[in-house]
Each structure stands twice: as structure tokens, then as C-alpha cells.
Amino acid sequence: MSEHVPYLDNAATTPLDPAVWERMRACLEEGLFGNPASAHSYGVAAAQAVESARAQVAAAIGAEPGEIVWTSGATEANNLAVLGIARANAKRGKHVISVRTEHKSVLEACARLEQEGFEVELLAVDRDGRLPPERLAATLRPDTVLAAVMLVNNETGVVQDIPAIAEHVHAVGALLHVDAAQAAGRLSVDVNLLGADTLALSAHKVYGPKGIGCLFRRRRLRRRIAPLMWGGGHEDGLRPGTLATHQVVGMGAAFERIHACQAEDRRRAEAYRQRMLTAFAELGGVVLNGRADGVPHILNVAFAGVHGEALTASLGGLAVSQGSACSSASGSPSHVLRAMAVPDQLAAASLRLSVGRFTREPEVEAAVERIRGAVQRLRAFSPLWQAHRRGASLSALYQQPVAEALAHG
């Protein structure tokens, strides 16, 4: 790429932190090629690196090292928790609860459970993306074995009240799985304060390498999760396969960096979010998909009066997501925005802008300028926007209720 393209898609993935890369490089170059499961010195050296990383990740989330199970990423961790808990506890009950705005790795695992005879209830969220904990409480039953609720939504940045949800879930003796892939490094993630029984994490959302993640699971749950794969008994029998030492070391380093970087990362993300919100409020007709108190690194906004495809085609390759990276590949409307009752046409004209540790102000300015220029150009001859200027409400134009646009000033 000759011209620098602003990268505002850090919720999809983050670049590797150079400090993380340095640890991974050292791991690959310095002879840590042994199999961590081997008893000889080569294996022991690799195992020590793996255990050190396990302690680093555990420390970042208030867990014990023995409670971390390495996986290939958060998708596998979500699958392992949802399928593994339901299957291992099926004798107790077959009722599973989740939420319509969850990541597909939870929703599709739930769909699989339905095929296996489980009864899955997917709860609706409010228009701002929040799940009222009482709504979940009202759905819990004596035969509920699992509730799966994410901490931070990957498309909107909306934060769910996990501690309150955990209380309700535990009151009926069920287990709570939390997808925290988007939360780590952005919010304080403490498994004890959250009350999570299992929790999914990914390295590449936190400036670590792709291909590695983990499932936190409470020590007492050793026999209450069924594995998805078989062979070798690694990771306490939950996840067989020789560990990729350098990936594991990278994840450990990435999570160790959180402590040092989180305050500055957050300060920067808040400043950029405010800058974008101000610019879009001035533009007018921009609707926030989510809540003002969402995580600062994700901003999801809809641009009324313009068509999603026309907007994308006008952005000159700007690295942002239209709704969500997962959904835009399929071309279907975002299931998250649809669950929040955003009209499909407005959802399609939504952009998710996500900043990160290596985002700098000129990138944000360039992105804002490009978006503003594209929206203004398309609106100049948009019959929807012109009707709105003449007084038609956005709800009337989209023939469906639309949230208030961002207020100027």
C-alpha cells in the first residue's frame, strides 16, 4: 500500500504490539521448540514459557493460572464453553439462555445445541443494546444449565451488567459464560467481580497474535465442561493438541502489557471518540447505535439519508467496518443492529469506527474528513435527506422508529 489508509477497525483485530513481537521472536529464535508436554529439558523449557504466559493472562483477569485453558481464539473458547457446559450438564437440565446480540460463535453454538435437543432462549435487548438483568432473571428456570452473555458487544461497544446477571444465574444454580474478547484491555476484567464461571478471551484483540485465545474456567468446574476434541489429554483434558509456545507467549505478553497501557489507551480512545462524536453531531442526522456509556474504542453510527453501499463505495477504502466485519462478509443486515430495532436500511448505512493503541490523531481526522465528505456528497441528491431537511422525521422516512440523532453543541 503506497498511501497510508487510516485504520479504524481495531475491534476486528489489532496490530501486534512491538513489545509482544519481541517476546515471540525471542521464543522462536532461542530454541524453545520443545513440546511443552515432553518431560525432557527441551519440553520443560517450553512448558515454563507456557506456564509463565498462563500466569500473565490469569493475573490480568484476577484468575488463578490453573483456571486458564489455551484455545485457538475466542471463537473456540465460546464454543467450548457453550457446547461443553451444556453437554456435560444435560442430565441436570437442557435449558440454555443467551442474547440476540451475542457473537456468532455463541449464537451458532446455541443453534447446534437446539439440534441436539436443548431448549435455547435468545433474549431481546432494548433499543440501546442493553439486556435488563430482570429480563434474564424472568427467563431462568430450575432446569437452566447455562446463560451466555457477552461483556462488551463487538459491533456497538455496549456493556452488559454482568455482575447483576451473574447473581440471578447463580441463584438457580446455573453457570454463566461471558465472552470478554472485546472487553479485555478496554475495561477492567476481573472474573471475581464479574461473577463469571467461564470467560472467553482472544490475543489478537489486545495487540497479541492471531490464532491464540483462552477459556477461563473456575477450578471447581473441571468435570462440568465436556471437551470438543479428543486426543492427548492436554489442558486438563479439555483441549488436546501440542501448544504453540510462541503464540501462547505472545498472548501472555499482550495481557501483561494491558496493565501498563490501559490508562493511556483509554484516555486516547475517549479523546478520539469525543472528536468523532462532535464531528458527526455537526454533520447532523447521525444516529448512535448503542449507548453513550459504551466502551470508548468502539463507535457505531448510522448516517441517515445515504445508502450503505453508496457510502462504502465513497470512502476510498477507509479501514472501518460496515456494521460488523463478520456480517459484512455475508452482505446480510447486522443481526446486532436488527436486534436493536434499527431499520435495515439505516443499519446498512452504519459504520463501526474502532480506535486502538496505535491510532493517532491524523488518522482520526482523515477518517472523519473522508466520511463527512462522502455523506455530504450523497445527501446533496438524496431524496430521503432532502425530505428530512424539509421537515420529515427520520422515523417517517424509514417507516420505522429511529432513535434521536446526535445533538449538536
Binding site: H307, A310, Q345, A380, S382
Partner: protein
Amino acid sequence: MAEWSPAVLAHFERPRGAGRPDGAVAFRHGRGGWVKKGAVVELWLRCEQERVVEARYEAYGCPATIASASWLCEYLSNRPIEQARALTGLDIAGALALPPEKIGVALIAEDALKQALDGDKAPSAAL
């Protein structure tokens, strides 16, 4: 995302006849499409002595929708009304080399044209 033909890109990036005309009362008006389907074309034609002397549009939709409306306005300018009547959405789709899944938006431009040429019919009140 769709791969657009050079003709679509040329019209999308530099639309011709974009924007509602001043004093639109002197124009015939037609409208096609629906917001929920993701494409709306509004067309204004100023006609003198059986010729279209000016054509303008507003469009909400994908690049193919905007290009269809833009191409249509360029084609119609200074064109006998008889020729305008003979034009179909398929002609527009062909001229812009639209992919098969996008031919529908050219038909929406045709709907707007037919309504404008049919004269006094009240424009849709959907907006």
C-alpha cells in the same frame, strides 16, 4: 461488494443532473422505488415542444441506482419525448453494464421516467 463497470463508476463519481431543480413546478415529476427496498429515484423533466430540454434527479440507493438516474438524465437531455418513451430499464442496465442482480434498480429509474412522462399523475406520497 459489487465490482462496478467503468460506466457506473463514472456516473457515480461525477453524477450528471443531480439535485432537485429550482422552480420544480415547471417540471414534470416522477418517482420510482421504495426506501425499504433500498432504492428511490425521483426525476424532473422540463419539456418544450415535444422535447426534453432538461432532466434532473435525486437518488437514494447503491452506486448502480445513482448511476442509472445520472445516465438517464444525461440521455434524456435534448431528446424527443417519443424516444424518451421508448427507453426501458433494460436499455439503462445495458448502457451501464449492470450486473444481473442490479438490473432491478434500472427498472426503478424506468418507473420514475414513465411516471414523469405520464404527466399529471400525482407523485407517490411515500416520502
